[in-house]
Each structure stands twice: as structure tokens, then as C-alpha cells.
């Protein structure tokens, strides 16, 4: 199928823009896995919740998502912190099978709670920059998505610096590497676990605010994004922050190009199939057989 290079470049660029947001979602997921060693089944539902929160901040309070992010990120950090501290940890006592079930339970509650409360209508917002574009050479890129790209990378970089330079960040890395050793050195592990979970959900809040201007909101949309995020995390390596970033951008481009060539409807199916394939083919040694 002959495609002009201009269209291809545009598709790649769009892919990178979306990819940065994927990367941010994947970042939260991989951070939670890397430190707590749990696969957060509630990640998708929490992203949906964040999207709804940003939507209603805009619709009922009139706060633009680019502004409400400064409210929602701390709020969702707190939510994640409390969820881990008060629900996940006590309910599961650290057992793998129990953690699986509890995060599943949370996912079911949040997703269906949103469904019950708001029904399944699609919602979008009108953003002041909603129809603006940025010209880059021959490419026309939606302004909202360019901003999202830059912001997502900035947040990722900020998170990286936080982990590298602050005391809490060091404690997080210590717990991720060697929990027992960290505990013996005096690190408050339950607190660090909760902080990490909170950071993961805060990433979701930021991603949601960046997504909202150019995307729609339904109770199922979180899952679609998170599935891609899961694929990225497994591809890039569970617990690897650079892996999540690189993987996110890569998958974004792949999705954009295949969307160009095969159409949207096959898109979701394709992502699921890639996801299954990645899980089946990825050699055991690199990520271990069990979370």
C-alpha cells in the first residue's frame, strides 16, 4: 500500500505523542510492580476514575484539566496511598494470591461504581485549545497532544529525579531492590509501599488530565489504555522505568502505524493479541514466571 512519506511521518509523530502518555501510565504500573511486586489489576479502573474526576472538574467546576491536574495529582496520590495502606495491605497480608484478588476486587468496585453512577454514555469536554494545531515542518499536530507529550516527559523526568535524589526516592529504590535489607536499615516499608502506590495513581491522574482535552470518557476507556500499558511494562521489563518510557513511545508508534494501515476496529484486538504474544514469548529468565 503506497503511503506518502509525509503521512507516515505524521503517523509516527502522532504515535510518539500518544506514546508519551502510554509511557506515563506504564510508569505508574511498573513502579508499583518494581517495588511492591504486585500487578495492579485496579490500574485501569483508577485511570477511568481519574478521567471522570478531571471531566467533572471541568464540567461542573469549570477548571481546565491543565489546571486541575495540580489538584488531582495530589488527590490521587492520597487515594493510592490510602488504598494500599488501608485496603490492599491489610486485606492481603502480603500473600500473592490474596493481592491478586484484592486488586481485582478494587477494579470491579471502581469500574462498576462509575458505571452505576454515570451510565455508559460517552463524554467529552470542549477545550480552549481543542482545535489548535502546531506546525512542525509538513506535520500538523494537535496542540493538546503536543502539550501532553511535553508534560508527560517532564513528569517522567521529574519522577526519575525524585527517585534518584530524594531520601524517599532512595528508600523506594532500596525497598525495590532488597526489601529485607531496607527494613533492617530502618525503612518504614508499609509507608514506602503506600507512597509508591500513591505515586503510581498520581501518574494516572496526570495522564488523565493530559488525555482529557483530546479524548473521550466512558467507564471502559481506562481498561483500553491500561492494557496497552501492561503490554509495555512486560515488553520493557517489569519494574524498569526506562523500559516503560522506551516501550511506551515504541508501542505508541506501532499503534499509530497499524491504525493507519488496518483501521481502528482491529486495533483493540491487535493490542490484546500482541499482549498475549508478549506474555507467552518473553523468556522466563528475564521476568520470572510469577509476579
Amino acid at each position: 500500500m503506497p503511503l506518502s512519506p509525509d503521512i507516515l511521518i505524521q503517523a509516527v509523530a502522532n504515535g510518539l505523542l500518544t506514546g508519551a502518555i502510554y509511557a506515563l501510565i506504564a510508569l505508574g504500573l511498573t513502579l508499583i510492580y518494581g517495588v511492591l511486586h504486585i500487578i495492579n489489576f485496579a490500574h485501569g479502573a483508577l485511570l477511568t476514575a481519574a478521567l471522570f474526576a478531571a471531566f467533572f472538574a471541568d464540567r461542573t467546576l469549570g477548571i481546565d484539566p491543565w489546571a486541575s491536574v495540580f489538584l488531582l495529582a495530589p488527590a490521587f496520590f492520597a487515594l493510592g496511598y490510602l488504598l494500599q495502606r488501608l485496603v490492599i495491605w491489610p486485606a492481603s497480608r502480603g500473600e500473592d494470591r490474596a493481592i491478586l484478588l484484592v486488586t481485582l476486587g478494587l477494579a470491579v468496585i471502581v469500574e462498576n461504581g462509575l458505571l452505576f453512577q454515570f451510565r455508559s454514555d460517552t463524554r467529552t469536554i470542549d477545550h480552549p485549545f481543542g482545535f489548535d494545531v502546531v506546525e512542525l515542518g509538513t506535520m500538523l499536530l494537535a496542540t493538546t497532544r503536543v502539550v501532553a507529550f511535553c508534560a508527560a516527559l517532564a513528569v517522567a523526568a521529574g519522577l526519575g529525579l525524585f527517585l534518584a535524589l530524594t531520601d524517599t526516592g532512595r528508600a523506594i529504590r532500596a525497598v525495590a531492590k532488597e526489601r529485607l535489607g531496607a527494613e533492617l536499615s530502618g525503612v518504614d516499608v508499609p509507608h514506602i509501599y503506600a507512597v509508591t502506590f500513591g505515586l503510581g495513581t498520581a501518574c494516572l491522574a496526570v495522564a488523565a488530565c493530559l488525555l482529557l482535552p483530546s479524548f473521550y470518557v466512558t467507564p471502559q476507556v481506562g481498561n483500553a489504555f491500561v492494557l496497552v500499558a501492561f503490554t509495555i511494562v512486560v515488553l520493557g521489563g517489569m519494574g524498569s522505568v526506562p523500559g516503560a518510557l522506551a516501550g511506551g513511545l515504541f508501542i505508541g508508534v506501532v499503534e499509530s502505524l497499524s491504525g493507519l494501515m488496518y483501521g481502528e476496529t482491529l486495533g483493540q484486538l491487535g493490542i490484546f493479541l500482541i499482549f498475549i504474544l508478549v506474555l507467552l514469548v518473553r523468556p522466563q529468565g528475564l521476568f520470572g514466571a510469577k509476579a
Binding site: 476486587g105 469500574e111 452505576f116 484486538l269 514466571a289
Partner: protein, 319 residues
Amino acid sequence: MTSRFTPVLVVLAALALLPLFVTSNVALNFLKVALMLALAGTGWNLLGGYGGQFSFGHAVFFGTGAYAAAVLQVRFGINAWAAFAAGTALGGALGLAIGWLTFRAGLRGSYFALVTLAFAEVARIIASVWPLTGAGSGILIPLKVGFATLQFASRAEGYWFVLALLGLAMLLVRAIEGRRFGAQLVAVRENEDAAKALGVDVLAVKLRAITLSGAITASAGAFYAQTFLYLDAGIAYGPWISVEALLTAIVGGIGTVWGPLIGALVLQALSELGKHLGGDAPGLGLVLFGAVLILVVRFAPHGIVGLARSLRPRRLARG
């Protein structure tokens, strides 16, 4: 040997007599659905409870059983009973296929749960666009009451049919409990490496478990098709049945033969209660179920059966 099956047979007999005393349509419907969920849960329980492999996508088996039964009858004119059997067998074959792919790749724990979730979603998407399964509009089995078409003249008959299916499944599980396969299955659940070192062919054991599990849950799906006569992708392969299948086992008592039955009755009762209080809005039931899941994991990880056992004085001598 007979003593192992007696309690199950007694309970089944008692349940079989129930329609003689309970004639209200509402009650019989309630029981029919509960038993169907118990059947789906029994399938899940074999793989998840006894085998320790938690599937989050058992809908893939339920839906396959349902669609196979429906499609074979409606599109290919095959006899309802044959279609039912084919649906069950197809569920088993699908279990074997999925198990072969995932267990050979070494997927366990959360990864296994994730991949089963993905399989269920793939099935749902395919069913929602494939003309064979009716795509978006779903598939309708024409109403034609009679023995040949496996459509029940009365609610009691439907109840007895699903009771028979459940009974067979429970007796199968009971039998497995008393055999080498059962011992090896729980060993795999408790500790795969130790099991391997003791000569257990872990892969073969898991494959057998998932095949049986898939067939049992598929039969529940086929029953759904025959009872409600309408399917679409969201009903057949939706998360609701994945969640309910696992929830009945966990609430009732994971890894026990009674668990799914008790869990299904309790959850159905809860669901009806929820409808009374909150109306028929979508989502409320599952919210309740999610909360129940977390509460059970927190306070009663061995379910209702586990609670009952902990209240009984410990017997020191066991046969």
C-alpha cells in the same frame, strides 16, 4: 470409597426434591441461575481452588460453550443435545489449548491471571464482530419447547437438568479428591518445585485440570444458551461471568467441593437483595460483589466452608 460420595449424593437428592415443595417461578428461577453459577464456579474451582492457578477470564469457556451450542443449532441445524455436548467438549479443547500455550510458557500467578483476562477479551471482541456469532446483534435460538430441542417445558425441568450437570461435576471433583491426580494437583498448588522433585509431571497435571475446568464451565454456558435463548458477546464473554465464577468458589470455600454451590446461593441472594434496594441499574451488583471479594479475602479467606470448619471442634483422628 462410597462414604466419600454419600454426602454429595444426599445433598443432590434433597435438592432434586425441592421443586416438589417449592413451586413459585421466582424461586425456581433463582435456584436455576444459582446452580448454573455454581456449575461455572465448580469449573473455576478445579483449576483455581484445587490447582492454585487463578484464572480471571473463565468467561472464555462459558461463552464458548454458550456460542457453540447456539451457533451449531441455529446456523448448522444440529440437534440441541449434540450441540450441548459439542459445546462442552469445545470448552475442554479450548482449555487444553490455552493451557498448553500458557503453562508451557511458564506463566503463573498474576501473569496467568492477566493472560486469561486477555483471552476472554479477545473472544469477546471477536464475537462482537463475527457474523457467525451474530456480531453486534447477538444470536437467538428459536423457541421450540420440547425434549429434542433441549428446551424446558417447565422451570422445574430446567432446574433438574442443571442440577444433574452440577451433580456430575461435583461428583467428578469428589472423585478427583480421592485419587492420585487430586493429590498431585494440590501439591502443584502448594509448591511446584517440591512437586517436581517428587516426580509430579506438573505440566501434565495442569493441562488435565484446565481441560476439565474448561469443559465444566462451558457446560454452564451451554445451559445458559438453552435456558435464556439469547446471547451476545457481552453476555457470553463478559467480565461478569469471569468474576462470578471465581467469586462463588472464593466466597463458598476455595478448594472444596461445596464451595461453589454455597457461594452461588449466597451471592445470588445478595444480588437479589441488591436489586430490591438499589433497583436494576447496571453495575450495582458487581460493586457489591467486588466489596464481598475484598471482605472475604480479608476476613474469611477459606470462605464459608472454612468458617464452618473452624467452628467445629478439631477432630484429632482422621481416616
